[in-house]
């Protein structure tokens, strides 16, 4: 296993939390009820904290003196390694919570596996994050159930959200050469192995939510490899990175 591959893997973990944390933070002050404003901020805060740990370690492994902030604020779209799902726009509250649940469910399984990583630092970050994400998935799952099995309008919106986001689920489970190196070294699981647990839990929640999982195995790809992100990521970076780019000599 090369340090390059580990760096790549850590960027994937950190960019997922960075990009999703940013998306969730866009809700601040605009949520449907005060309790949701507070809860969304909590989720965003957890994800930003996890980003600091993953990208911080990535910078150390890379060994070129780049900090977590450098990685977050000074890379362009093609260097981002997050999956396409998390860069999708918020849409309505239902779409945001559906995206959250589809990610959280994968995230939890991934972190559980990473807690037993052969790499101590990776295991430590995962162990710390897993408690937070356990809570995220409970919350997003409850919300998906509540809105899916709510009024006819909320049901319709949640089904539309699931249909829209479903093609972005597959990317989380498709292994590539980086994953192969990671699993060979015992650092991370083969993502394909997470799918069965994911599907089982997903089916339970969607049944309770009275929602229908689309009958399609199609998956968009290109986020985690960095090959082809969606157009949305670039716009996000124009905001997120603006100050650092406009005033490169400043410290904040």
């Amino acid at each position: 296993m090369s340090d390059d591959a580990l760096f790549e893997f850590l960027c994937r973990m950190g960019d997922n939390t960075l990009v999703l944390g940013h998306r969730v933070s866009e809700w601040c002050g605009h949520a449907p009820v005060l309790e949701e404003d507070i809860a969304l901020a909590n989720t965003a805060l957890d994800l930003i904290g996890q980003t600091q740990m993953w990208l911080g370690l990535a910078g150390e492994i890379e060994g070129k003196g780049r900090s977590a902030d450098d990685l977050a604020m000074r890379r362009d779209v093609w260097d981002f390694r997050n999956i396409l799902l998390v860069e999708q726009p918020n849409g309505d509250f239902g779409q945001t919570m559906m995206r959250q649940f589809l990610f959280d469910l994968w995230h939890l399984e991934m972190l559980k596996a990473l807690s037993g990583s052969s790499h101590d630092r990776v295991a430590a970050i995962a162990a710390k994050s897993v408690k937070e994400v356990q809570y995220h998935v409970e919350r997003s799952g409850d919300t998906v159930i509540g809105l899916g099995d709510g009024t006819s309008e909320s049901h319709r919106r949640m089904q539309a959200a699931l249909d829209l986001l479903w093609p972005y689920v597959g990317e989380m489970f498709v292994p590539d050469h980086i994953d192969a190196q990671m699993s060979e070294a015992g650092i991370a699981p083969d993502p394909g192995e997470l799918r069965a647990t994911y599907d089982a839990r997903l089916a339970e929640v969607m049944t309770e939510a009275t929602l229908t999982i689309p009958d399609s195995g199609f998956a968009h790809k290109g986020g985690k490899s960095g090959m082809r992100h969606s157009e949305h990521l670039g716009h996000m970076l124009t905001q997120m990175q603006w100050l650092q780019r406009a005033y490169p000599d400043a410290t904040w």
């Binding site: 933070s25 601040c28 449907p32 005060l34 930003i48 509250f93 309008e153």
Partner: protein, 325 residues
Amino acid sequence: MYAQMVKSEATQEDPEKLATFQARIDAGEKIEPKDWMPAGYRKTLIRQIGQHAHSEIVGQLPEGNWITRAPTLERKAILLAKVQDEAGHGLYLYCAAETLGVSRDELTEMLLDGRMKYSSIFNYPTLTWADMGAVGWLVDGAAIMNQVPLQRTSFGPYSRAMIRICKEESFHQRQGYDIMMKMARGTPEQKRMAQDALNRFWYPSLMMFGPSDKDSVHSAQSMAWKIKMNTNDELRQKFVDQTVPQAEYLGLTVPDETLTWNEEKGGYDFAEPDWKEFFEVIQGNGPCNTERLAARNKAWDDGKWVRDGLLAHAEKRSMRKIAAE
């Protein structure tokens, strides 16, 4: 302040009951929701606590404006946590108001259709990152001036909410000042941003305390009831005296050429803000009134299907539970 120009209600009630009530307040006792209280006391408090709560909620917007542009991960987390605290303050205060017999939804509707106000300060725009410093330093700073004494207010739930809130507000102020420090000691552009933020937020911060005492007709009753603890001018003076040395330490210039130390009174003489501008802002003509209310209305309207959906689900669940028993 977060509650400005709260009209206090005259009260016509049994003089004996009123006297006993006033005696309890004078003795420093707390009035609790189940206790007898004059109708005017209740109405004034609902107005004041409601306005304070609305200010916390609308106050999320000017700072929320910079969360997605925060320059580092740490700054982003700190700002997000701060705005989250403000939402929490709104929640405590709505709960305190609810003990007086008005629901959160009723209060929200009154904010959204303009029957109730929020602090004038949140109708000013946040234009650079230094504004995140200025808001914490000056706006939270001014809020603390008012809220620290309100910890001793006569109404129990309000007093307890203030005690919780004050702890967090002083943290906010320190963080704001920390941003200002970084900016004021930073590159020439950062210094310029810091000075510009102070220029724009100085007078609006002074307005937070409300009009001068000589023009403030509602103070006396509220002060007797210990709903208002200090006069507007007292608090404004205290704020200026505290803030000027902090500005000097930052190497920034307070935008007031008349500012001078007055040895005799042991405080600064300073220029009054433009009260015409203040009344315009209160009337809805501040730079951001339209956007702030539109944003809150949009959040509420767009969120209706969510609130309805979750409620419908909760009802279905309890029905199913009853059916199963």
